[in-house]
Structures are given as C-alpha cells and as structure tokens.
Subunit: 288 residues, 2 copies
C-alpha cells in the first residue's frame, strides 16, 4: 500500500510522541520535527507506510539518542496482557466457536499499539477486551473471511505467524493454542515502536508453543527486501501466513502469498483503502 | 496562548482537508503540504495558533485558487441550524434556568467547527445537541464560571459578543435573546475556514436582535493587531465580552479585558493548557 498525504501529519504526531516518551525536552522535540519536516518533502509516497515509518522512528532515535524508547512500556504491556491470559483462555473455553473467539481475541489484542495510541489508551483497550462478554459479532465487521480461513487451515500443517506488538503476543498465544498446528512465529529483529522482539515472544511464552524467529528487519511491518534470507526462505515456502497488524498489511498486501491479514483498523486511510471502518477488526485474505 | 509542537501536524491535517474541500487533486494537495512544510520550520511558535492558522489557510487558498472553500458548507450549516431553532427555543422555554440552558446551547453550538471536524461530524453534533434532553450538568464540566458570569451580566448594559462559526450563530442567537441586553455581534471580515461573516449573521437573524459588526480581520481568532480601529474602540470600552470558540480564546486569553470565553474543548493541547477535557464545554472568565 502506498503512503497517503494523510500519513505525513500522522508520522509527525508519532515522532512527537516517541520523542516525548524518550524524555526529549521541547527543544529536542522541535529538532525532531524540523528534521522530519525537511525530509518529508523529498520522501516518495510510493514507498509503503512502514518503510517511511522506519525512517521516522530511526531519525527520532538519532536525534534523541534513545534507541528503544518503548522498552519499559513493552514490558508493562507484556505483564498486563499475561495477567489476563487465564481470563482469555476462559473466554475461549466457554465459547461456542473456539477458533473464532481466539481469532477475535488475537485481533482485539492488536489494539495494544503505541504507534497509534498512548499507553493509557492501550491499557484501557486491554481492559475493554475483557469486558466484551460475547466478543464480537463478525457479521457486523465489514471484512472477516472466516470460512476461507477455516478451509485454508484445514489443508495446512504449518503456519507462519507474523507478530506485531509486544503484549499483543499473549493474545497471539491464545490463537496459536487453538490453531493446533506447527507455528513459526516471526518477530522484528531490532526495536521499533512497541513491536514484539524475541524477548517479548519468550516472556509471553510463545517459545513453548511455536518456533520463534526474527524477520531480520527493524521495520514496523514486513518489508521483504529488508528481511533476512532465512526468513524469506520460510516466507516463500509457507502454505498459510497469519499476518498481524496494519504495518504488516501495508507492507504485504500486494504480495502473491497465502496470507490472512488479522488486525484492528486504526486509521481512516486504511479503513478507506480496504472498505471498512476505523475500530473494526478485519480478517482479510489475499487468496484469489 | 503560544503554538505547541502538536499544532504543526494538526495544521497540516487542516490544510489537507481544506485543499480537498476546495476540489484540489492529489498533486495540488501535495503542493499545499509541501509549501506549508517548508514554512513550518521557520514559523515562530511564539505566535498564537490563530495567527499561524490564518497563514495556513491563506497559503492553501493561494495554491488551490479557491478563496472561500467552505462557502457552501457554511450555507448548509446556517440552514440546518435555523431549522432546529424552534426546538432550541423550546428547550430554553421549558428549562428551570433559562440563561444557563442558553449558555450551554451556545457552547454546544460551537461544535459546528469545520477546522476540526468533517461536515458529517458537525451535522451529527447538531443533531446530538437536540438529543440531550436535560442539556449538560455544569457540575460535571471542569470549568464553568456561571456565578461569576451572572454577576458580571447584572452590572452591565452592553455586551460585545465575538462570534465563531457559521451555523453556530443560530445558537448564539438563542443566548443573545436570553441575555436581554444591548449586544454588538462581531464577525470575521473575510472568509476563513467556516467562521461566520456578516452574511451568515444576517442569514441567521442576528441583525434583528444585535448590531452586527466586522472585526476587520480574517484570522480564525481575534488577533487585536490585525483588527480594525472601529472594532478596537468597541473592544477597549466593553464592560463584558462573550468570546466564542477556541480560536478567540487562543488569541485573547492573555488580554486584560472583561472576557468570558465560551467554547467546546476540541483538542488535547487546549484541554491540557486550561485543565479540562476534550469534548467538555467551558465558560472561563479571565476576570481577576
């Protein structure tokens, strides 16, 4: 997906938030904005948003000198999500359609996104998920390719699962446990926003139920030409890929691969692009 | 109030919206953003937001060639608000505290703001105001200097009323009719966003209950050094000023004048600055 003009002010907002979380004072925050503003006129909008997002966050880190500003927040999100793990399991256990409930929970867990939300909002989202007694009615979601997904799942033994955020990984664990398949769980290689790294996957217990690998890249999405050869080998051979989050969708939606994109729609640009609404959860197949 | 770094991405979003309403294609929208981005690094944040907002909208108009992009929208807002006028009057008539209800309605009418919202949102806001059966409980608002206002009102015969948006003027009319004082109603001199002009005030019937004047300025606020001498004479002599909207607040809050600011809080920057919450209505006195 290309970058839209609306993404430019959004990137500036994201950089400002990251600079503040990094402890930058007003002067340094201004320096971050000025540097990005100068870059923005020359950046090609043909790049996909995670490609530009990667540059935005890298530039912010260079100016502030803080490489992993979301480190503590990621730990907090992991802990908070792990604390609700038993309740999530309970929700699935008492559900009429366990796979569907697990899918929905994994999608709702995608709300833990510090690129889009403040920490307090993400915490609120985590609590809200637990309040939803019957989870969602997928009939009310614009795009939820559940039947297609079940069919694809039936005919595969191994799944490549592309992670998105820390904390969200607990919700991914819920889904992986319901899939009952061999899963390879791919995380980012280096810190970027609050995206999950190897340590987050391990902390949330994913390594006990899946093989955890790195994508080899530090983009807030899966930009294939930035990924490692090892990851690309697995990606190309995969029979079924579950891709979490908008960033992975934005960078992979044009790929000719058996991907199901599972995410919460967080901005009007993506909502408009796919024909859904902000706040909805989406399960979108790119299978022909 | 000075301009905050958060205002920069917000201005870019506003310009993008204005360019689209002007019918600008992608290329022209990009040209608007590029031009503003280049300006943003050199603009002093010591200016107040309406001062920068004025430049942002002027620049957008220069690039698109459309001088009054909100013209049709303003007409639509006027008509829509006039259609609910009888219902608003009824609300006041059946209220225990007519002045308070009129103040609250005037503040709620400030939601008709195309700088902040899309037209559909503003239309929804207008409908929502009618749905609020008992209006608001001012006890739940962080700042609502009602007692101070009643006292100030008791000891004055003439009020200078600084208008904000078209359509909102109908809600202002409701308040002016309850004030039962001589009112001078000041509007912007030239088109800026969807701010009320002389024609809007007249269309909404304000000229029948108040003396309508121009501020002499085309800023989306009241920047005194851009106002006409006639307006300044009235402003300086005023015993009581009712100032509608965030723009007027941002540009006048430091003035040593008997002003009551009445507005809906529309952004976290202002909410944080005054100690309220986004979405609240505010009646704030700057009387010592």
């Amino acid at each position: 997906m290309k970058t839209y003009l609306d993404c430019i002010p959004c990137f500036l907002n994201q950089a400002l938030r990251a600079a503040r979380i990094s402890g930058a004072n007003d002067k340094l925050q201004k320096k971050v904005l000025d540097k990005l503003i100068q870059m923005m006129t020359s950046i090609s909008l043909d790049k996909d948003p995670p490609e530009i997002g990667r540059i935005v966050y890298k530039t912010t880190s260079e100016v502030t000198g803080v490489k992993d500003p979301f480190k503590d927040i990621k730990k907090k999100c992991n802990k908070k999500a792990l604390a609700v793990y038993p309740k999530l399991k309970e929700k699935v256990a008492y559900s009429k359609d366990k796979l569907l409930t697990a899918l929905e929970l994994a999608a709702l867990g995608n709300a833990i996104d510090l690129g889009k939300y403040a920490l307090s909002d993400s915490e609120e989202e985590t609590s809200n998920i637990l309040k939803i007694s019957d989870i969602l009615n997928i009939q009310n979601q614009s795009i939820f390719d559940y039947e297609k997904f079940k069919k694809a799942l039936d005919s595969t033994d191994q799944i490549l699962y592309l992670a998105d955020n820390a904390g969200e990984t607990v919700f991914d664990r819920i889904l992986i446990e319901e899939l009952d398949k061999e899963v390879i769980f791919a995380v980012r290689d280096k810190p970027i926003i609050n995206d999950a790294l190897l340590e987050d996957a391990k902390f949330c217990g994913i390594d006990k139920i899946a093989r955890v690998i790195s994508s080899g890249s530090d983009a807030p999405g899966t930009i294939l030409n930035l990924c490692s050869k090892d990851f690309l080998d697995i990606f190309k051979k995969a029979d079924l890929i579950i891709s979490k989050g908008q960033g992975n969708f934005e960078s992979l939606e044009n790929e000719n691969a058996p991907i199901f994109f599972l995410f919460k729609v967080k901005c009007p640009v993506v909502a408009n692009y796919i024909g859904s609404k902000v706040g909805e959860i989406v399960l979108k197949s790119n299978l022909k």
